[in-house]
Amino acid sequence: MFNYLFSFDTGIIGYLVFLITSVALYGLFSLGLNLQWGYTGLINFGHVAFMTVGAYSTTLLSLAGVPLLVAVPIGAMLAALLGLLMGFSTLRLREDYLAIVTIGVSELVRLIALNEGWLTKGAFGVQSFPLPLENFRPTVATRIGMVAVITAIFGLALWKLGRRFFHQIRGAKNWQKRIVAIGSGLLVLLGVRLWLVSAIALYNFRSSPAANGLLFVSLITVAIVFWALERLVKSPWGRVLKAIREDEEVAKALGKNVFAYKLQSLMLGGFIAGIAGAFFAWQLSTVYPTNFEPLVTFQAWIIMILGGAGNNAGTLLGAGIYWAYTALTRDLERLPIAADQVGALRIMVIGLILMVLMIWRPQGVLGNKDELTLGK
């Protein structure tokens, strides 16, 4: 465990690069869900469907010779199109029906991927597709430029996080203050560590171009999407989404076309998850239908609830916590129990963590407690 924190061994750095990329891609994926559920109140239990469409479209298009910069937007748009279809058929239903239909759609999409072999290569999966920046051999100057970009992203993120915790400390009681202070201190240190690792990896870009390239692209993408979402949810457009989350009858009574906004939210969330799907495929470098089981959707739910639904920064932090947990419990595999039991144990413990969190901090790590004490 201490290796993760202090070692600069190539293997450890490689693993941490994998983890950071995972945080970015799951963060991206969960940001889409957070827009739908956290801001609009849509119960989407089929989020992985968007990821599936994004992953398959991007990889298949790029195998057909379409450049990645074109393939990814097309994949994301197809995912958004799926959102449109899902929305038209379900958004007029009550929300519990929406939940059922979405989970059905995600399984449907996965089964299509499994059975329509002419298109998706079925159970054999899609392999050896182009990866971003895999043939990129940057000069020293370019690499320093990449490090600078990463530094800016990490710097901004840590500054925002620090400011946020500072606000929480001011409003907290004494013992809470200490916990928040220690927690945020550790988080900042961890952030610095991850920044160092990313910087080293990018500087030694050639050590593993595909992994390091993916790290760079995913961090930039998640930064851009985060910025765009923050801007959107703070705009009057986002205000309508929040109003729908609170009480859609009121939104209607005030002249808002609730259906259109729900559709936009579902589509934009799907678009973002579609991009995440491309990253998912690139990270795995193979795509099988079994990668897209409903479990993936629920990982996004866990991440969002951990960090705080209705909070974009919280969602990203949730992705960080989730992957930190996954990394730390990897050592459990040394225990004298069977591998599948270890897997089950890890999931059980995360369930336990969620339950404890729901009791102690039901709003999530970055959520706003005041909001929970309000009457309807």
Binding site: R231, S235, P236, W237, A243, E249, G255, N257, E371, L374
Partner: protein, 259 residues
Amino acid sequence: MTDLSKSPMPVLSATGLMKSFGGVKAVNDASIEVAQGSITGLIGPNGAGKTTLFNLLSNFIEPDQGRVLFDGEPIERLRPYQIAQRGMTRTFQVARVLSRLSVMDNMLLAAQQQTGEKFWSTWFLPGRIAQEERDARDRALEILESVGLAAKANDYAGALSGGQRKLLEISRALMTRPKLILLDEPAAGVNPTLIKQICEYITYWNRQGLTFLVIEHNMDVIMSICDRVWVLAEGKNLAEGTPTEIQTNSQVLEAYLGK
């Protein structure tokens, strides 16, 4: 029925409205008319179908039959949000505020034709949006000040008391710059002092040119603010007239008190 030749052009007129839920005829051939610039009351015993009638007028529930003319145009095929956009805003019997939004955001949401509510405008017209937000904010503060909620502007709406929620809901309706506001029991569950205040606000806004249709059980409120009153019983029109006429109408008394 009314002598149409005498009343000014009605801003809202509905005829032959019908709605059944299963076998129950909640609204059975009811009509109503709201004169431009009036405060019109709608009363009736519990279960008379008043709130259902409101829902039919604003199309929150689609009528089985009937016509609704608002500003001279049929609106019974429009969706509720379209009706609101045309200038008819409703409130709810139990005040519905958007809890996890600030009082100010509740108000700002109600502003109509906001450029910033269009997805693409958020990216391409930031200057115009900022200007509209400033204007809306000024107007919202003005309204909130007039009802004594200005100090609460940055609080969560969910933290307001019951009476304050009623005020916020009416203020929010006002923020849409409507031609007609449908108020569903504005005085229900509100203390007597606040009831008085609400009545004053309604008459004040009415003098500013706003038309109201008010459901209310509190007869003092109806008698003190309304120009005309419509009485509904068992989903049908029972009577219509000035408050004094209604007070002495034997059929109305019967419906309320029994034979």
